[in-house]
């Protein structure tokens, strides 16, 4: 039987057209550029289909080593990350203790901060001239010991360590949210049925957490595969993953067939772990409601003052230091200068960032890069927000013939090599009918492509919390469709719109891989400038950029937090 058609606030939004609109955008600015790169490898010299280019990659010792290292670092990073996050997630969801909410808030830091900021922080903390080595040197000279200096810069271990550090909060977030949804009574009944702590853990806790572990693991694995800025900065010239090698092939070695093959190989690896992620979230209903963009849930844990307090304190302190340490370190280094070998504090590096003279390395003044980043950030909000909104409305619809396809599409930019995306865009749209390459638009468009799925997620989450009766009530009180949208729907959507905007801004601010490929010199952004200065061994200026980016991110999330408080006072989302 046909069901009667209900009125919908957005039924004027003819869905085939809006669907086509979003799909076309993703196709033109994401899927087609990537496919065109892969086709270089599969159809070299515009000839017929061949796998010989792939074979060439697999026969080259260098690229096999790179592929092997990429997978190994991703696997090791994932396993250690999960192992470190699991007890933390458990503690955070089961116990209430002083500093718990601070740890939860800290956990969001590595996720929202641009990866280069964290990479710089990591280097200034653990690098050969870093804070920790400074301490080791001090200890050695004062005690006569000879503790070997830590040297993680330009090493494989450094990359793995950094990946663990970056992905730890993501794993913590997913596992913590899943622990929060676990019924404590189930654990208690297992205990009352005679199971010991260990049995309960292995027979009740682990089976319930397995999909969460799998989901968190596959996500971390994907991020480790696609990580670009971190590997580029910490790995140096000698240690590369597939993503960095793609960058080298496109920019330096100019072996496009090799690069195309690497894009294909990386895409396959990403596809496998994405499928694993989708599968594991579909197996566990409680996981579907956990999104990366949302904050930690505020479920109250149990009070506990006991023997385990010490363990908790140690864990909290270590985690906090690991997250805060690099950030403090990068701030401190940005004020450090060594004019005659001795350290002195100065604003010198900030002076060079604020310089308005054109810099020959950048092609724009150092301060111009700051302005560019801010402008691109705002433009990204403007372009991505409508796309996010339409996508969220589309996902919201109940009957939808390829709804799961659209859902998968939303994960697409998450799983795309940004370097390849950037290069693909330049390749496809230089000259011809859409000569975008070299314009500022291409930078904004690529940022919007990467950012809009995140926005769509957070808008969708807000949307599904708005009771449909509210808009029906408004209509029955005589408000027209437009009036209902303006006076009821949009005000209620405001928290989601704020989150989507700030995330779009933050993503644009920190994006390196695609930007470095598409931006012409006069459109250099802060991450690109940071990398250029870093490449010229001007660590001070790079640190200053990192601190400025950190500050901007901090301010924008402060705005989000404050506006959220106001909105929550309305009772929205409560």
């Amino acid at each position: 039987m046909r069901s009667p058609k209900g009125i919908d606030l957005f039924d004027r939004l003819k869905w085939p057209f809006s669907y086509l609109f979003v799909l076309t955008f993703v196709l033109i600015f994401c899927i087609y550029p990537i496919l065109s790169l892969i086709s270089i490898s599969l159809f070299p010299d515009n000839g017929g289909f061949t796998l010989s280019e792939i074979e060439r990659v697999l026969e080259s010792e260098r690229s096999v080593n790179i592929i092997r290292f990429t997978i190994i670092q991703a696997v090791v990073s994932t396993i250690v990350t999960l192992a470190a996050a699991f007890p933390g997630a458990y503690l955070l969801s089961r116990y209430r203790f002083f500093g718990r909410s601070a740890v939860l808030a800290l956990g969001t830091v590595p996720f929202v901060l641009p990866s280069l900021v964290l990479a710089m922080g990591f280097i200034s903390l653990f690098g050969s001239n870093g804070t920790i080595n400074g301490w080791i040197m001090d200890i050695n000279s004062s005690t006569g010991l000879s503790i070997p200096a830590l040297d993680i810069l330009f090493t494989k271990q450094g990359i793995i360590l950094a990946h663990i550090f970056f992905n730890f909060p993501i794993a913590l977030r997913i596992l913590h949210a899943r622990f929060d949804r676990m019924d404590v009574k189930m654990l208690l009944s297992a205990r009352s049925l005679g199971a010991g702590r260990l049995r309960t853990f292995f027979l009740v806790v682990i089976p319930q957490m397995r999909y969460a572990l799998l989901a968190a693991g596959s996500l971390v694995f994907t991020f480790c595969l696609l990580s670009f800025g971190v590997v580029l900065v910490i790995g140096g010239l000698t240690n590369a993953t597939i993503e960095v090698e793609i960058y080298r092939q496109f920019t330096g070695r100019l072996d496009f067939e090799m690069a195309g093959s690497l894009v294909l190989i990386e895409s396959v690896l990403v596809l496998i772990s994405t499928i694993l992620y989708i599968w594991s979230t579909s197996k566990d209903g409680d996981l579907r409601n956990i999104t990366l963009g949302s904050g930690f849930s505020g479920t109250e844990g149990r009070h506990r003052i006991g023997l385990r307090s010490l363990l908790i304190i140690v864990y909290v302190v270590v985690i906090s230091l690991l997250i805060i340490g690099p950030l403090i370190s990068v701030v401190e280094s940005s004020f450090h200068r060594y004019p005659e070998g001795d350290a002195e504090y100065s604003f010198h590096w900030y002076g060079s960032v604020l310089d308005r003279e054109d810099d020959p390395v950048l092609g724009v003044s150092p301060f111009g890069a700051v302005i560019n980043s801010l402008l691109f950030g705002f433009l990204t909000i403007i372009i991505s927000l409508p796309l996010s909104m339409i996508t969220a409305i589309l996902i919201r619809r109940k009957h939808f013939f390829c709804k799961s396809f659209l859902d998968a599409l939303l994960l697409f930019p998450l799983g795309v090599s940004t370097v390849a995306l950037g290069y693909g865009l330049v390749k496809v749209y230089s000259g011809g009918t859409i000569p975008l390459a070299g314009s500022w638009m291409i930078v904004v468009l690529v940022h919007a492509v990467i950012a809009f799925p995140f926005g769509a997620r957070s808008l969708y989450n807000t949307m599904k919390d708005i009771p449909p009766n509210l808009t029906l009530a408004a209509r029955s009180l005589g408000a027209s469709r437009l009036e209902t949208i303006v006076r009821v729907y949009l005000p209620l959507m405001l928290p989601g719109i704020m989150i989507a905007s700030i995330f779009a801004f933050a993503i644009s601010l920190g994006e390196l891989g695609a930007t470095i490929m598409v931006s012409s010199p006069e459109h250099t952004t802060m991450p690109v400038a940071l990398y250029r200065f870093y490449g010229n061994r001007d660590f001070g200026t790079a640190n200053a950029y990192a601190v400025i980016m950190m500050l901007i991110t901090f301010v924008s999330f402060l705005i989000l937090e404050i506006s959220h408080r106001h909105l929550i006072r309305w009772g929205v989302n409560s």
């Binding site: 009667p4 009125i7 009766n469 509210l470 029906l472 408004a474 009180l477 005589g478 009772g571 409560s574």
Partner: protein, 296 residues
Amino acid sequence: MLNIIAGFFKPLKGRVILDGRDITHERCDKRGIGVVFQDYALFPHMTVEGNIGFGPRSRGFSRKKVRTITDDMLDLVGLEGYSGRSTSKLSGGEKQRVALARTLAVKPKVILLDEPLSALDTSLRESLRRDLKMILREQRIITLYITHDQSEALSLSDRIGFLNDGRILEEGSPKQIYWRPVRRKTASFMGFKNSVKVVGIKGNNLVSELGDIPWNPDRKPIEMMFRPESATMEETEGLMINGIVRGSEYRGRDHLLDVTSNGIVYRILAPPDSDHGRGENIVIYVPFGSLVPIYR
């Protein structure tokens, strides 16, 4: 059905007629039909005043006029001085009053109330029920009140429609529905728990499985139903049931007995001081006057 009347759903067939005018395809914001939702659906981002003034503002009334209407409405529902409050700080009963005031503020031709009291606790429900009746009487607005609660339906309405599977099974005044239901489902909902099959007509009598019933039949009912409280242990003119007590439930003011006779279970009320054990033989009389004929 409520969604179709309010215009939230387009019906596949059938029409909605108000005052002799077909409004099936009229937009829900132009119909002049007010809805009070079960969960109140108050706008969380507006104050009490903002909520009540929402409709009048949509009509394009002046700020002053909106204010007058809002104050009048707050007065009407007994929430003077609440205008600046946030809706999230209100109690359930207060939310209900605001929802009602918001709907009345647009002076609808018809007001639909969808189980408006079901989310409230019992004592509040009864006092609000009285207020609701008074307010709606005073406003003289046609009200469609949807409820699962028998006493709410009986006490509030002028006419009751008994809905089943989206159809009106039976319609009538509260007294008619309570005392003389003609449909099996209606009767059973109104407390006629026992049924006696009618086999045929013989002269001025109905022949039932428990004996003849004096009747002036125009047509043959399929069964006769009676309430547990109609049955009595004292000998009266009526049907006689000779059965065995299968179960007894003490309920304070009475006993509810399950009595079986010829494999049929009857639910009978016995006085609180009575004492009937399981397996006891018992004779019950059902006065002819308390039997209600069921036609379908």
